[in-house]
Amino acid sequence: MPSHDVMPNMELYQPVQVEDALAIADRLAERAWLVGGGQDTYGWLKDRAKSVDAMIDLSAIESLRGIRETSDGIEIGALTTLTEVTESEVIQQQYSLLSMAASRVASPQIRNIGTLGGNASQDVRCWYYRRGLDCYRAGGNLCYADTPQGMNREHSLFETSRCVAASPSDTAPALVALDATMVIQSSSGVRTVAAEDYFVGPANDIENTTVLRPGDILTAVRIPNTWANASFYFEKVADRNVWDFALVNIAAAFKLSGDTIQESRIVAGSVQATPRRVSNVENAIRGQSRSAATADSVASMATDGARALAHNGFKIPLMENLVKRAIIG
């Protein structure tokens, strides 16, 4: 396949008001691509793996940036950079799960421009899909990854349906664990969606990883104070500590009474096309002590229903061990 050095030529819209961005997004629909930090966008476009007539650059819309304290938590503008999320005092103090997750994304330069909304909403990673092949997710009728020779070491263990690609976002599992709400605007108004329902797997929609549709803009993420100051655990395992996407990551929150777990959220990333909440483990450890013994007794439950592909079997013990380490703390 040819390699391209330059961006394809297209039009660029740079609105400074969200209303204007919505009007353009509504008018151009599939012909335009919304750009936040652009760190995922430019690869798709430079590779000619996807093409559009125009980019709508949202980065000048100040109302989509910043972290605000609300009556019941915080609201983070979707365009807030990962560096800003990492360094935010209120997030570090009360919702450090999210700052830990944001600090592990890619590299410093990418975190300086990449946004929370973009990182959480990023498309799946799959060599074949991202090289522009006509796979299921790209509208075709085969999968190149789930084949005996296919390179699928990074792919999914769960909830595959024709497509086996995984979403490796570091912040998405943290948002699900914190019971975040995604705020979506379109020209017909504002709607909110629980983070858990925001992400969509291939069985329900094979061409989209979120509920966002043309004309929609993710404007903010709200984090309720439900989990403020809980005991948090985040760990990302990747081939290199910088740049590489997670092979598996884990975001967990525990409410403790003494060392007894009252309530918990355990969410794994990079094991399916959406963040995977490990509800059976959450239920099993309720009322148990936060200890190695508890962790050992439930770890294998974390991968109930996992189906390894030819080369990603290592993710099963990896995920179990990350769940264990999260519980032990």
Binding site: M7, E11, Y13, D20, Y42, L45, A60, A106, Q109, I113
Partner: protein
């Protein structure tokens, strides 16, 4: 809405294309009506290394492309062109960014510093540059401009960084020679922590 905001909204809202017209809202100069027609270069002024530089820029042009091929600032290297190596690192409003992964139209009104803008006006090398020379930090040298930009940004914010802080700050700059420890030594020397 005050007039200042309206003016800013108008100026920043300009869209780049061959033919210009206005939308119903009157906010934008819009693209040509013919879909698929190639968008055209537009003359904008960028602040690069403290100087205002007028330059013709395509709508989807990256900053690395503009610096190298329009402004002849070839010190900024394009390694991977995908935000995966760091050779194109520049400072935008003092913050390290990959110039290959920023649209040039996105840095209007911001100050950009490339490797050419690091030394003093009289030609004296920046302390990081001199330290990198002194400790023989680079091997092949291709990643060096990017390493310098990340190191300069680090010292601007943290004049005496630890080795670990330096490792983190330079972690977005790949060096295929593996000269990482030498670059860290250079930062230690530039910050006066080793001779």
């Amino acid at each position: 809405m005050n007039s200042k905001l309206t003016r800013r909204r108008f100026i920043k809202g300009v869209i780049f294309s061959g033919a210009a017209a206005t939308t119903g809202t009157g906010v934008y100069l819009v693209a040509s009506a013919q879909a698929g027609q190639a968008a055209a270069e537009r003359l904008i002024t960028l602040n690069i290394n403290g100087r205002d530089r007028p330059v013709d820029v395509l709508p989807s042009e990256t900053l690395a492309h503009t610096l190298r091929y329009k402004l002849d600032l070839t010190g900024t290297k394009i390694g991977c062109n995908r935000g995966e190596c760091g050779a194109c690192t520049v400072l935008i409003n003092g913050v390290p960014n990959y110039a290959c992964s920023v649209l040039t139209h996105n840095v209007k009104g911001k100050s950009v510093v490339s490797i050419e803008g690091v030394k003093s006006m009289d030609g004296t090398l920046h302390s990081i540059q001199q330290a990198f020379v002194d400790v023989n930090a680079p091997q092949c040298g291709f990643c060096t401009p990017g390493q310098i930009m990340s190191a300069v940004a680090l010292l601007n914010n943290n004049p005496r960084p630890s080795r670990e802080e330096t490792r983190q700050a330079l972690s977005g700059n790949l060096c295929r020679c593996g000269a990482y420890e030498h670059y860290i030594n250079g930062v230690m020397r530039a910050s006066g922590q080793i001779a």
